[in-house]
Symmetry: C2
Subunit: 237 residues, 2 copies
């Protein structure tokens, strides 16, 4: 609850930081709730708004990708979106606005530094939920979120290593088959250190091999296999 | 592409069926695309709109649940939403409007009757994407989709067997730990047929037991275990 003048001023400052106009139709009660951690109140906290915000951020990312890359495949969209809506990225964007300074959290919960990324990502999603519900549009969101996502999307496209094909593939197999892909790794018998083909990974969905890839590390080989699988699925569709 | 007068009339009829006014600001080109299966055109089809629509339907479901059940826990929201946005339910709603009659699809793809549910669900999501992009709000969607979702949500709440706690738990562990929960089943040694506690299921997340449940069938025991796990997670948060 907005109990004092100081909290109210604080929230106004955050909205200014986002670059929104002073008369932006923000629902301040919801914004306050979005920035209240469950450790402060077991009932009046950001959880419900985070639930909405999770859908809001997927929407904002999807709409932007559709606008700026009209010729991309849905496979590419899905791979980029899975990075954009990840806790890591959302916490990064939240940090760029110093969101941790606006989040009401108990001292003991704040002491859990390992949980900081997910705490920030959760509060950030909740804030998106509050801003969405203020107008029932993305009007108070896309003006400041788009530039972050545009830059990140461009980076992800240019640097394939940042594209998380494993996540994208997993999201797809989950949605369509309710199961996870399985990775099988082989290490080449006579490895030369730093060899780009040292590891070979296969990715399987039940009894069907979806793809194969090689890499300098296990992770790189798995990503390469996931990328091949993903491209195959998207062209088969 | 809307190549003829007949297609255009057909789409207008569908929009009327949804109960939208004649002058509804529908983007007809997008709606036409939403109802074009990839078997008709490898490039000009519903895939991109389905990607948007997947986010739109989560949003519409989240917003509605938040409005009609303001006191529910996010656990309950997540469990209900995972049913609402499932292919099965989306295809059911699509069928109630006879969407299959508006979907352009090749004869060979249409012959795949096993794929009908996912085809209808995909086209339905794409239609939601097209309607959303027509106004950048849920205005052309919630007026007719809310009544379906409200009734379904009420049914799901009244009949716990329809609540898919396994799906909801899986969604949660995936989002937070990138892994799936594991179910371990035991059958009672001296089962009495039809005994409601015949099967005992435990659900584990790596080395941590999340919940336990019993049931008349393996599936029921797993659902009961998932429900306990879900309640625990949500109260721990």
């Amino acid at each position: 609850m907005i109990t004092d003048y100081r909290r109210s001023k604080q929230l106004q400052k955050l909205v200014q930081k986002l670059g929104l106009p002073d008369n932006a139709p923000v629902n301040w009660l919801l914004l306050d709730l979005a920035l209240t951690h469950p450790s402060i109140s077991p009932r009046e906290n950001y959880e419900q708004l985070e639930f909405i915000g999770d859908a809001v951020v997927r929407m904002a990312a999807s709409e932007l990708l559709f606008e700026i890359y009209p010729n991309s495949s849905v496979g590419e969209f899905a791979a980029i979106r899975s990075v954009l809506v990840s806790d890591r990225i959302l916490a990064e964007v939240a940090k760029s606005y110093g969101l941790e300074r606006y989040l009401l959290v108990s001292n003991s919960a704040a002491a859990d530094t390992a949980g900081e990324t997910s705490r920030l990502a959760d509060a950030f999603e909740a804030m998106l939920g509050a801003l969405y519900l203020s107008t029932h549009t993305l009007e108070l969101i896309r003006s400041w979120l788009d530039p972050h996502f545009e830059q990140l999307a461009a980076e992800i496209r240019q640097d394939p290593a940042r594209q998380n094909y494993k996540d994208a593939l997993q999201e797809w197999t989950q949605a369509h088959y309710k199961i996870l892909p399985e990775y099988r790794l082989k290490e080449e018998t006579s490895p030369i250190h730093g060899d780009a083909h040292r590891f070979i990974a296969e990715v399987w969905l039940q009894d069907r091999q979806l793809g194969e890839g090689t890499g300098r590390s296990k992770k790189a080989a798995e990503q390469a296999a996931a990328k091949q699988a993903f491209a195959k699925i998207m062209s088969d569709k």
